[in-house]
């Protein structure tokens, strides 16, 4: 099934989501971020998937967030299921969701520095130290 794709801005985002809830889209299924580092401006694209079980249809919302600003309103009060997803987006990309009840790291340790899924965060940056292995600098 091809979802209907809607582009939005950070200002209109919350109103748009509220209208979905009234339209009978009961579930927010997924929220994720794409990092367009040095490819697109603004840098971060937030992709939210919605599902209506009564109409059997899907909608996708795409919002671009600026690299300097990084803030977007949280939709947890409209869809409580956004809670974990927004925390994950904060953890992995550093997007700040305004008015989120508990915006902390979810998958990485609390004292972790950096946001691993950003494109300028190299994978394998931190060497894995095995037990009894000779230390490598």
């Amino acid at each position: 099934m091809n979802p209907e794709i809607i582009s939005s801005t950070t200002e209109e985002y919350k109103e748009l989501i509220e209208s979905f809830k009234k339209d009978g889209f009961e579930m927010m299924v997924d929220l994720t971020v794409v990092d367009w580092f040095r490819k697109k401006e603004p840098r971060f694209e937030i992709v939210v998937q919605f599902l209506s079980t009564s109409k059997n249809s899907r909608k996708t919302v795409k919002v671009f967030v600026n690299d300097e600003d990084l803030t977007i309103p949280s939709i947890t009060e409209i869809y409580p299921s956004a809670n974990f997803y927004e925390r994950e987006a904060y953890d992995m990309f550093g997007i700040i969701f305004e008015d989120h009840p508990d915006l902390t790291r979810i998958l990485m340790p609390d004292d972790w520095e950096g946001h691993p899924l950003r494109k300028n965060y190299g994978s394998g940056r931190i060497p894995v130290q095995f037990k009894n292995a000779p230390k490598v600098d």
Partner: protein, 458 residues
Amino acid sequence: MKNNKIKKSKLSNFKNKLDFWATNSEEGGWNISSTDEGSQKMLEDENEKQIKIQTGTEVVDDFVIDEDTSDDERMIVNMGPQHPSTHGVLRLQAELEGEVVRRVKPIIGYLHTGMEKTGEELNYFQGPTNTTRMDYLSPLFNELVFSLTTEKLIGIEVPKRAETIRILMTELNRVSSHLVALATGGMDIGALSMMIFGFRERELILNFFEKTTGLRMNHNYIRPGGVAADLPDGWQKDVEEILKIIPEKLQDYDDMLLDNPIWKGRLQNVGILTTEECFAYGVTGPSLRASGYSWDLRKSQPYSGIENYEFDVPTLIEGDVFARWRVKVLEIFESLKIIEQAMNNMPKGPYKVQDKKITPPPRKRLDESMEALIHHFKIYTEGFKVPEGDAYVAVESPRGELGCYIVSDGSAKPYRMHVRGPSFCNLQALPVIMTDSPIADAVAAIASLDPVIGDVDR
């Protein structure tokens, strides 16, 4: 006035007696008094909103910290991450008042291995190797959803035989996954025979998987463009045996548990999740169907030609742990129906797309043809290129909606690969299920949601 006093003293006398009878001490038990107060409060407020909240049609966080309770009675307890009943490394921070859970916060991330980051490093041909390790109890679904998304981006359709093999294998996987859910769920509650039974029957299916794919778990069998290998010789015999044995064994489970008063008493009216709560917290799969809402992606948004099979969507209305257990048992029967139909109508023909750019040539051709050798080398070193674009595809995994979102920038590796794990989302409903219920029921509640931590943390 006087009458009232007499009534009250009579009542408290009676209560003391009841407490003494229940707890065998003069002190009075928490269970009797709290239930008593609760029921009186329920009768007092009968405005529409209160009733809506009580029937569960309106979702509110109704927890208010009782000012009268002293800090001595309230304590915070960590359950897990190394607790056998948390199904892996889930950690729960629970605030207890006596034996009642007042607040709970699931803490996850202990099994986070950065699979989405790894997904950006591997090409589309290697992708299923990575995704299959996410939900390790239903690996074939992860491979399927990754392959379907890639195929959608490329715009190819796989041959009929490949589709049917995919349906056959994934439905077998659903049976084996549900069997583990029943087994571990039984173990958590104390039905230890159930654990032995569930794992014993799962072995049948895993043996068939090993014969077909080479591995018992993490198969890397369903790949973009079809499946890795054809079914082995004499596969019908194995599937027939599975179809014969599993219903017999399921009958044994029913004989043991369905009318068992202990099992029922332990599970009925425990951990209730209403349809509205399911919608609010994005809960899908058996948990949603157990709350009285018939929603199955296999029926509503079919994939791999599953619309051609006849099966029902079992739905129960209670929404408690017992209903969630029952739905899983009934779903096994429906999956067996699909497996039987797939087995009887297995089409002949290729099991991979006949596109040289996507499918590596068969081993025999390498010795004869230079071009085949080049294609083989190209696919295994570079992989195949996927046109620019993005796609989201969802399938019904044993735990709910399993989605995959891939963004392609035109190269041989995904620019971004995200998997929407059903367990991750379902876990958000855990506080709703667990609050204001005894800690003993919490274990049953976790088991009924059936979270797989590999899928939660990815």
